[in-house]
């Protein structure tokens, strides 16, 4: 919980509220350990969301992979130019 407060930069009550909703829909599991509450992501519950965005994400991934190739050439061209000067 404290970790989430620090990383997200929101207050503890806000984090609690989000975690409660996530727990209600089964997106996270919680277990108590002493005074601490430990939360764990439930991958199975998130899978439908992952599946939903996967293909859209892939079209961007493929564009970016091509873009890597273009950039490699641009870098070489630029280095080549620099060498000539």
């Amino acid at each position: 919980m404290n970790d989430l407060v620090r990383v997200l930069g929101i207050t503890q009550p806000q984090v609690s509220k989000h975690l409660r909703v996530l727990r209600e829909v089964g997106a996270v599991d919680m277990r108590e350990q002493g005074r601490q509450r430990l939360y764990r992501l439930n991958g199975q519950a998130l899978k439908p969301i992952h599946d939903w965005v996967k293909n859209y994400e892939r079209s961007w991934s493929e564009r970016f992979d091509r873009l890597d190739g273009v950039l490699k050439e641009l870098k070489q061209e630029e280095e080549g130019d620099g060498g000539d000067k």
């Binding site: 939903w52 965005v53 996967k54 293909n55 859209y56 994400e57 892939r58 079209s59 961007w60 991934s61 493929e62 564009r63 970016f64 091509r66 873009l67 890597d68 190739g69 273009v70 950039l71 490699k72 641009l74 870098k75 630029e78």
Partner: protein, 166 residues
């Protein structure tokens, strides 16, 4: 944390938004160049799904852009929009409209505002693309259009596989 973050990361910050982030092994002026030069856009925008047939970029505020691709199955998809803000090597804000909208969907509703930003650290550039739709329905439709393309890939593979069995 992974050092080589060459994976595109997609998140949905709000119900209306899509955020795509990717790191490139190149300084930002080159990523900007590859993003805004028609001959270069032609080489990456097709996402391996067809051939880019039109790339028009009038890179100034109020200037228009238009990209068209013919997918491998002959289906043509086009997008166009207008530049709203341009900060060379840093950031471009533009509108985007899909040209094959289903009947009954107005361009106004389906248009998105896209902000692409380039930030450089140690010679590497992080590109973030924020796509903001008018409402959740439009946002979801954009994500699902990707599904269709993905399905098409799968069908193509199926066809190839089926042919190889002949």
């Amino acid at each position: 944390m992974a050092v080589t973050s060459s994976e595109a990361i997609l998140t949905l910050p709000t119900d209306e938004q899509i955020l795509v982030t990717r790191e490139f092994d190149a300084p930002k002026h080159l990523v900007y160049k590859a993003w805004t030069t028609p001959e270069l856009v032609e080489r990456w925008w097709h996402a391996k799904r067809g051939q880019v047939t039109v790339v028009e970029i009038d890179l100034r505020v109020g200037g228009k852009w238009r990209y068209v691709m013919v997918a491998d199955d002959g289906y043509e998809v086009g997008f166009h929009g207008e530049y709203r803000e341009i900060v060379p090597d840093e950031r471009i804000v533009s509108t985007e409209i899909f040209e094959g909208l289903p009947e009954g969907v107005s361009e106004q509703d389906a248009a998105t505002v896209n902000t692409v930003s380039f930030t450089e650290a140690n010679g590497r550039t992080t590109l973030t693309l924020l796509i903001e739709a008018r409402n959740k329905t439009s946002r979801d439709a954009i994500i699902e259009s990707g599904m269709e393309a993905g399905l098409q890939d799968a069908l193509d593979l199926l066809e190839q596989t089926a042919n190889s069995l002949r």
